[in-house]
């Protein structure tokens, strides 16, 4: 069974978002996503300052098996990227909700509420 913390929001493309106290949101990939991919071996994160449209491909995670795009769950600007994660990619497999990829400042914070909550995401992955 995949772990799906209650305090996060989820996109149908399997990203999670966590609200930070400064109004930004941290983004990573879900436990379900890392399980599907298997051992991760490569990561490309977006540049800080990049403006993203909702659903825009902005990062790449690759496992031994396959490459997968990571999409911006909401429109906004990248305010931080976890460059150091490339040296510890096993963290994404072991602890996907702490191994974050980037932080985003949403153009419209209300967009975040349109994403799935934990119960809806759990249902969507069956």
């Amino acid at each position: 069974m995949s772990s799906i913390p209650d305090n996060l929001r989820y996109a149908s493309s399997h990203e999670w978002m966590r609200a930070e106290s400064d109004g930004t949101y941290t983004v990573g990939i879900s436990d379900f996503a890392q399980e599907q991919l298997g051992d991760l071996v490569f990561l490309e994160v977006p540049e800080v300052g990049r403006k993203l449209a909702a659903g825009e491909a902005c990062a790449v995670v690759e496992s031994v098996k396959a490459a997968s795009d990571v999409y911006a769950p909401v429109a906004g600007e990248v305010v931080a990227a976890n460059e150091g994660l490339s040296d510890a990619l096993e963290q994404v497999n072991k602890d996907p909700y702490n191994a974050w990829l980037f932080r985003i400042k949403p153009s419209n914070p209300a967009d975040v509420q349109k994403l799935m909550d934990a119960a809806a995401y759990a249902k969507s992955i069956g």
Binding site: G38, E44, V64, K65
Partner: protein
Amino acid sequence: MKTTPLHETHRTAGAKLVDFAGWDMPLHYGSQIEEHHAVRRDAGMFDTSHMLAIDVEGTGARAFLRYALANNVDRLTVPGKAQYACLLAEDGGVLDDLIVYFFTEDFFRVIVNAGTADADLAWLGNLRSRIAPALNLRPRRDLAMIAVQGPNARDKTFAALPELRAAGEPLGVFFGARIGAGASERFIARTGYTGEDGFELLVPNDQVAEVWMRLTRAGVRPCGLGARDTLRLEAGMSLYGHEIDEKVTPLESGLAWTVDLKSPRDFVGKAALLARVPARQVLGLVLPPKGGVLRAHQVVHTPHGDGEITSGTFSPTLNQSVALARLPAAVAPGDTVQVAVRDKRLDARVVKPPFARHGQSKI
């Protein structure tokens, strides 16, 4: 979907199962990379029961295989000796790659790939009808197969299965031995598909779960097809459907060493191979560490024309991406080529495979 006699064992062990050539097979049991390292550093095992052993029995077995295979079975003179060979169509395309074992003049065994097994049987059956109608081709679906591979594979196999020691201990590389015959036969061969020492075992279907359990208890780690693929790729070995298929010849696939064109014997596909100079070849590519991951079907740009990656992955042993690619014949090891990866062109170094064997980097 077809299943092997170990299917329930894999499910119980929590394997992630995938469709491989119509068979429901383990991809991994948790971590593909850890399974890969287990084989390079210690001992791992694979359920390869989806592959098929075909016994070639009767007078004229050698003459039949001499004509059917691109490698020359006349090189097999010592009982038990094995050889890697391609089965070709008349146009030189590769129908399958296989290992042939010689035991006696009227008993050879070939082990073929899962996805091609039925077509191979039909092809060989037709050939037999034409040139050797008295010969018997016996598919051995009654036997299951386990490959035990790694630097400690020998010791752990003998610890788990002491009854195989007498036959297995004296085996040289690429030799096999049969213990018993018929329904209770066991078979042990010092062959594999990982670039490590080890054995391939055939045992009756109803005994294989017990054999697997004994090997597990002896410390042999169950490994899935994921690790099998990264191990064979590091070892520079071809995978049917990737480096080779019916549209390419072995001479364009890095397998010229398996084709005997020197002896006067005729074989299926020989005329086609002699009729054209190979324009392509298979070589290795390496990316710098953290440079991304090469994948099958990516286009390779070279000064001599474009090529294509046939298999690409992240190499757990080298900690960087490696690939096999079909490239124009003029490309040479040491060259730098460009691989189209998403919206980028990445510089890759051309090398002669293998990338790794016996636990060590070869590049």
